[in-house]
Symmetry: C2
């Protein structure tokens, strides 16, 4: 279709160019045609998930797809070709058989929300230039806090560029609560502060401890049970140990839905210890927070209402397009106190509207992308009940997978019992390994199985699923389901693919 | 048009629903019609920049626009109405007369790029799921480093969620370079570290000093000349003073394009001092970095090639849609060394492709939004020369404004001489103030002029421009031009509006 543009039409001919309206509309509609075709194919199981190429292949240039930037402009005709090629060589994260990440799926209303957000192209720092979005954020955060269980949704919060930053906020706020002088005097003003999180928790807590000046050695890793849940007694023992050394235990992260096992730490028991020793309790529900929307599954986060702060990423289990992560804080004022620098050029006290709606001084960012609208729009379109249905369906699917493979020949679960979240962790043993005695040789060979099957999967482009080692456990598959397009037949397909590709290894 | 949807059609009827394709395409095209109408009107000067309402008005609900979330789903028909209303009550940041922020304008190719990015909905942390985008980022960062002036574009870098985070990266990396043990042992492992930045610099440096555990008191503010440029002698004196106290001067931020005055610190002279005292030199070119694209204006950043790190936000002066900010680092390996946590579940060493392309372990984020594509696509469409033309045109316009008002009755420039960037800072004196003698009464009354005119401007919705106080200077207007749609007639209009609205104050 792009022969509607002659090779001479360039971006300079688009709006705001004089008489640029027609070309602009035509160009945008051409782009939309490319995008809607992509959307259509994304949901078509006869389309591949990806068309894999190595970096050097793409860098060398694929059939006229040249990634290099040049001094001179390209024609709009070529720009449309570039758009097509970009999608062609990418990965269809919305494909019903894409299971590779915690964020999967392509929600059509969410997509529309992102298109609108891009078109509005504004910034969350002040009500002045984002009045509607700022209010949507405020109402949505309040609703999330109500769902967490804080009375009348009291507290504070902000959307951040992802779970790692949200978790970083929690550590910063905790420090500000207990040692506000660190803001002005630095870590030298505080005693040696100790943070706690489980061995299975997300590495962002460790990143935060390094970045914020605590040091990773002052982040103590807690032991977990065989299901990946923190052992509260281990927390208490380590708190006592730290205190005996003269250190100050300050912060505990409880994970609601660990990245690999999908484990939920026992929040109530951890909260008891936090209260006893006066520590900040953060719940990292980046992955598991979504379960709060489900009457059937929210009990897994029992005690979350006792947390001082909660990370919850709608872009994971709730299927909102990337990026959409919230940090919720129970005590009002801390976020502002911790981060406020009162920049005169942005936050004028003498504006004509109620400036408490300006959010920028709460953030560690200055400019802040509008992450709220797609989420708000999806919530409008689905209702709370729609998110609940989505969550319940995904958990049902993972139960289906678990029941399908738990006793199937060639499979071994990484941990026993039904998963708490949609994470199903398992080893696949090709026939050649099944007769081998348990031992180093079998471990070494098994370690290579998942990477090999994954590589073959990517080359055939049929499906994608993650794998990793964990502790002393060799590489295993981690299946996760957050994709609303996935059905039982896709789960069946995944297992068939693993067996097809792994049978002869 | 949305009567094409009956009130019964809901988001559940869209893909991946069975037979959902037709409804999906129809819904997306309806959304696109709303968006393209918005785009069309954005460039139409007879359209208002905004339709101002107070927070309480929007919260109470405007003609059926209800921001509250509910348990039950809305129909798609209502979702389309919500989209229209969201745009209706927002601010047209792409309007030719929107001058309120450093990020303005609506680039059509950039917009198309964002739409595609939303549709691809993937994550930058691994090549595995963002092969094309990861390579685009790598090539673009290299090109930016070449333009900075580092030989063959050597070094490293990453796109971050904004200039504040990019600046935070620079402080983290500097600390890691000089005191790598802080990563594991915390700030206690380092002596008292001192950071330097100018009184006129962006508050994100202060936010970083608080967040990262240095403490804002250990950020020393440097004096500036009357144009807002750092006085290098003041830096050296304060470095010596800090050393005499036994502290360790570690990091200097030089701003290339300050937020309010648009001043460029003298980088070469600052670099000399940094070399002499072995300090990290960061150049915050969030706002001014774009001038590197212009042969005529890049001399203002002379010496930038001597920096250890550079922040450069294409979403400001280069007109790329929000968010798009790069942190560039001259020494390879530091970004990785500083932030790497080697999470096994994401960064498997046994993948089939060259895993040095996985970028996630360099970041303080885990998931990372694709900010590169719109920028890459704009660069393809404009070429390097197109960005240059854009920059030159904006600076010409600001010179036009400066020349227009510098001797105009009722105006006073905040600092003398032609601005270095597009920032034109000025007071407007209504006739009633012109006869008053310089003194406290005049100052107090003048302080109220800009807020009052701004409030009237927003209420009439005709244009938007920022104001703020600075140091001992009372509220003044800060005009900035990054909007590619603005012309001399829009500058003329702004001045007419200020006079129309301010004449009777």
């Amino acid at each position: 279709n792009c022969d509607k543009f002659s090779a001479l039409v360039q971006s300079l001919d688009l709006l705001p160019a004089k008489n640029g309206e027609e070309q602009t509309m035509q160009f945008l509609l051409e782009v939309v045609e490319i995008l809607t075709n992509y959307v259509r194919k994304t949901f078509d199981r006869s389309t591949k998930v990806l068309d894999f190429h190595h970096p050097h292949q793409l860098l060398e240039g694929m059939e006229g797809f040249n990634l290099e930037l040049s001094d001179q402009p390209e024609s709009l005709e070529q720009i449309l070709v570039d758009c097509r090629d970009t999608l062609k060589y990418g990965v269809r994260t919305g494909h019903p058989r894409f299971f590779n990440q915690l964020s999967t799926g392509l929600d059509i209303v969410g997509l529309a929300g992102e298109w609108l957000t891009s078109t509005a192209n504004t910034n969350m720092f002040t009500y002045e230039i984002a009045p509607v979005f700022v209010l949507m954020e405020q109402l949505t955060l309040k609703k999330m806090r109500e769902i967490v269980g804080w009375p009348v949704g009291e507290g504070d919060g902000i959307f951040s560029p992802g779970g790692a930053i949200s978790n970083m906020y929690s550590v910063m706020i905790a420090r500000y609560k207990f040692f506000p002088e660190v803001k002005t005097k630095g870590m030298a003003a505080a005693p040696r502060l100790i943070l706690f999180t489980s061995e299975h928790s997300h590495y962002s807590i460790k990143k935060a401890s390094a970045a914020l000046g605590f040091g990773t050695e002052n982040l103590i890793l807690l032991r977990t049970d065989e299901r990946g849940r923190v052992i509260p007694a281990d927390l208490e023992a380590k708190v006592i140990e730290a205190k005996q050394k003269g250190y100050v235990p300050m912060f505990v992260n409880a994970t609601a839905g660990t990245t690999v096992y999908g484990a939920f730490d026992p929040i109530n028991e951890i909260a008891d210890i936090c209260e006893k020793y006066n520590m900040w309790l953060h719940v990292d529900g980046a992955w598991g927070g979504g379960l709060l929307m489900s009457r059937k599954h929210r009990h897994k986060l029992n005690g979350v209402e006792r947390a001082n702060s909660v990370t919850w990423n709608p872009h994971k289990m709730m299927g909102v397009p990337l990026q959409c992560s919230a940090i919720l804080v129970r005590e009002r004022g801390l976020l502002q106190g911790c981060n406020s620098m009162s920049a005169g050029y942005l936050f004028q006290p003498d504006k004509q509207y109620d400036v408490t709606y300006d959010t920028g001084d709460k953030a560690i960012q200055c400019g802040r992308h509008v992450d709220i609208f797609k989420f708000w729009l999806m919530w409008k379109a689905k209702g709370t009940v729609g998110f609940e249905q989505h969550i319940d369906k995904c958990l049902d699917l993972s139960a289906y997978l678990y029941n399908k493979i738990k006793n199937r020949e060639g499979y071994q679960m990484v941990f026993d019992g039904e998963p708490q979240h949609t994470n199903v962790c398992f080893w696949y043993f090709p026939p050649s390994l099944r007769g081998l005695p348990d031992g180093e040789e079998r471990r070494e060979r098994l370690h290579k199985v998942a990477p090999k099957i994954k590589a073959l999967m990517m080359e055939s482009g049929t499906t994608m699923v993650g794998y990793q080692p964990q502790g002393d456990k060799v590489n295993f598959f981690r299946m996760v389901i957050s994709n609303h397009a996935a059905t039982r037949s896709d789960i069946d397909f995944l297992i068939e693919e693993i067996e097809r590709l792994g049978n002869d290894l």
